[in-house]
Amino acid sequence: MTTARPAGPDLARMRVDRRTKLHDALAGQDVAAAVLLGATNVRWATGARVVAADQGRASHFRNVAVVLNGDPVVHLFTHHPDGVPADHPADHVHAGLDVECDAGAGALVTFVGDRTGGGSGGRILLDEWTMALRRAWTARLADAAPGDAAASLMSEVRLCKTPDELACIRTAQWINEQAMLDVQAALRPGIRGVELSGLFLRRAFELGAHQNTVDPIWQAMPDSVVAGPGSVTGDLVFPTVTTARALERGDVIWVDTGITWEGYDSDFGRTWIVGATPSPAQQDQFRLWRRVVDAVLSVVRPGATGGDLTRAALVAAADGRRPWLAHLYLAHGIGVDSAEAPFIGTDLGKEFDESIVLTPGMVLVLEPVAWTDGTGGYRAEEIVAVTDDGFRLLSDHPYGPYVA
């Protein structure tokens, strides 16, 4: 079921829209500057790429953004000049700083101090510390100790996506889905999890993925919680890390992967069965999952709350249990982070869920689970964007071997 590549976004327009949002949010506040170290915050604010790397490497070679209130252009410090959008003014692109080290952290604090009257020109917001930055900041900008306002500011401006951002998510998801057609075709008894990962990564990069975001997951699920990996909470364990173990006929595989394209993430979830068709019990699990997803989708529209979604899921499951993983959520947002606000159905509780009001442009990944202890379960993910009058799906992938 190869589908046509979706229409692309206007990336330059998307960057302008994001910068405008950011500056509008800052303009109303007594804020001199926002200093951004968070990888996805900087990505969102600048559109600049970095080489995907493990956390230890990435933290040394990260991009840093400094947003000065009143300056429409973001200052970008980067080790990856070839990843900077061509329309970013050259006088706002600076050599990369290693803010894990004293020299780089000191240079950043000097830059910020020089442009904010040493911190006397209003609050300075910061999203993350490195220990070196905290040392340099405390020594020289002690009067401008940042609170957690940068995190909430960025969460707010990132929450509702523009049509160009939705197009990025759809393209990322399309790459992920197309790659999965080839992976599922290769699924057979004897193949190892790492081989599925290799095939997936190869196809995703051939199709244009900018980076892989999460080590691909192909977890062979047990029939019951006690038959699975040891659980701290007594609840079902997912995900576990992929190994070289060979898959066996009849294994039920919960698939979860994500790649990035133009800064935006995909999130693919499906359940497969190795070399077999679903039993009647397994097909029932899929039907239950479908019923929960349809019930949730039926209430997705502007003005609905997170609580409306969890209630719809609970009613559809009809057994009093929450049809999602207890340690995770019914739904999460997606954008430049593969899981970002809003989070619905977490241990933040019902009141928190009620405080989430859907608005057009929000994107949710629905990931309910239909689980019957003793016969196992079904899990898949759908991505849905809230529109002016309802919703639009950004995921589009078959459910085989389950019969939809």
């Binding site: 170290l37 990888a39 080489v51 995907a52 790397a53 493990d54 956390q55 230890g56 990435a58 933290s59 040394h60 070679f61 990856h80 990843g83 290693d98 894990e100 080290c101 020299a103 999203d127 993350e128 510390w129 490195t130 220990m131 940042p146 609170g147 957690d148 306002a149 940068a150 995190a151 790492v194 081989e195 290799g198 990564l201 190869r202 196809r203 990069f205 244009g208 980076q211 892989n212 975001t213 080590d215 691909p216 997951i217 990996p229 040891g230 659980s231 701290v232 909470t233 609840d235 364990v237 995900p239 576990t240 890390v241 992929t242 070289a244 990035t260 340690h327 989070f343 977490t346 241990d347």
Partner: protein
């Protein structure tokens, strides 16, 4: 911890978590905000780990020392206060912070001062145990085999991204699905550009095997099976010859400058172990010590060679399973 008078460490960086716990957890690309992922209490020597399962967790960390992921800071901090010995700690080392976590930890452990646990961890990690050197060697071997397969398959008419795609598949087929960094194949962001026969192409790759980094770079002429690193080999040997206990970044730069090649835009050397570590040359002036492992990168006339070396008691050993690729 004794030297730095640190009573407990609260760690969020994956490399530190792995160093302390040995646990294999889900790999995610990129830098992430600090969150308390692992706690080590000096008095009890107990390791506590953020994990919902003991799958991938060494047997010496008991299930009751694992704490599940939570979205609710109150639940997380409440769980941390129940870790024996943590509430009594006067100095808690952290390897990063967010303003929110700074406030939460300070409020939850009001008697404790939050100090730099990252410097402590990097100091502990700098000189490798021989078992760690073996891990790095194994990772390099895997990267070499995967890169050799890509070199053997490279043909004019392929796109840069096709080489990245092949490398990732080879890496996974050889048993590891996590890169140390997504590789350079011509460009640092491999593109749709089609390769021409005979062009010089830089291939710079890194993998993580059991968390340890194996990385190398070679230069090939597209369509030829042999690597053609040329003058970069000479510079690499000069850099390696400058590595010895007591040497600093200036010694490496002196060796580089003697070659008359212009200095590169990338660091000429950085520490490797559980990913990238200081010293990063060149800003760093740290003196090299026996047991440190470095990735050295030589670049001359667009030809690049990267390999890793071990600082020995008397000099240097190039960490390689084989010397030729292709």
């Amino acid at each position: 911890m004794t030297r730095d008078e640190v009573d407990a460490l609260i760690l969020g960086k994956e490399a530190n978590v792995r160093y302390v716990s040995g646990a294999r957890r889900l790999w995610l690309a990129g830098a992430r905000a600090f969150a308390p992922s692992c706690v080590l209490v000096h008095e009890t020597s107990d390791v506590h780990l953020l994990s919902i399962t003991d799958d991938g967790v060494p047997g010496d960390i008991h299930l009751q020392n694992l704490y599940p992921i939570t979205w609710n800071p109150a639940n997380l901090l409440g769980r941390l206060t129940r870790i024996p010995g943590l509430a009594a700690a006067r100095r808690i080392g952290v390897d990063g912070l967010t303003p929110l976590m700074d406030a939460l930890l300070s409020a939850t452990f009001p008697r404790a001062e939050l100090v730099d646990g990252q410097a402590l961890m990097l100091a502990a990690r700098a000189r490798k145990l021989s078992a760690e050197v073996d891990c790095i060697r194994a990772a390099i071997g895997l990267a070499q085999r995967a890169l050799a397969q890509v070199v053997g398959a490279t043909r004019p008419g392929m796109r840069e991204r096709d080489l990245l795609a092949r490398f990732e598949q080879c890496m996974a087929d050889l048993g590891t699905t996590t890169p140390a960094f997504e590789g350079t194949f011509g460009h640092r962001f491999p593109s749709d550009r089609v390769l021409a026969g005979g062009e010089a192409l830089v291939l710079d790759v890194g993998v993580l095997v059991d968390g340890y980094q194996g990385c190398l770079a070679r230069t090939v002429n597209v369509g030829e099976r042999e690597v053609s690193t040329g003058p970069a080999d000479v510079l690499f040997d000069a850099l390696a010859a400058a590595v010895r206990p007591g040497a600093t970044g200036s010694d490496l730069w002196a060796a580089w400058d003697a070659s008359a090649a212009p200095r590169p835009s990338e660091p000429a050397a950085y520490g490797v172990g559980l990913g990238v570590e200081p010293p990063i040359i060149g800003e760093d002036v740290t003196e090299l010590l026996p047991g440190m492992t470095l990735s050295l990168r030589a670049e001359v006339d667009g030809r690049v060679r990267r390999d890793s070396v071990l600082v020995t008691d008397t000099g240097v050993e190039v960490l390689e399973e084989q010397t030729r690729i292709g």
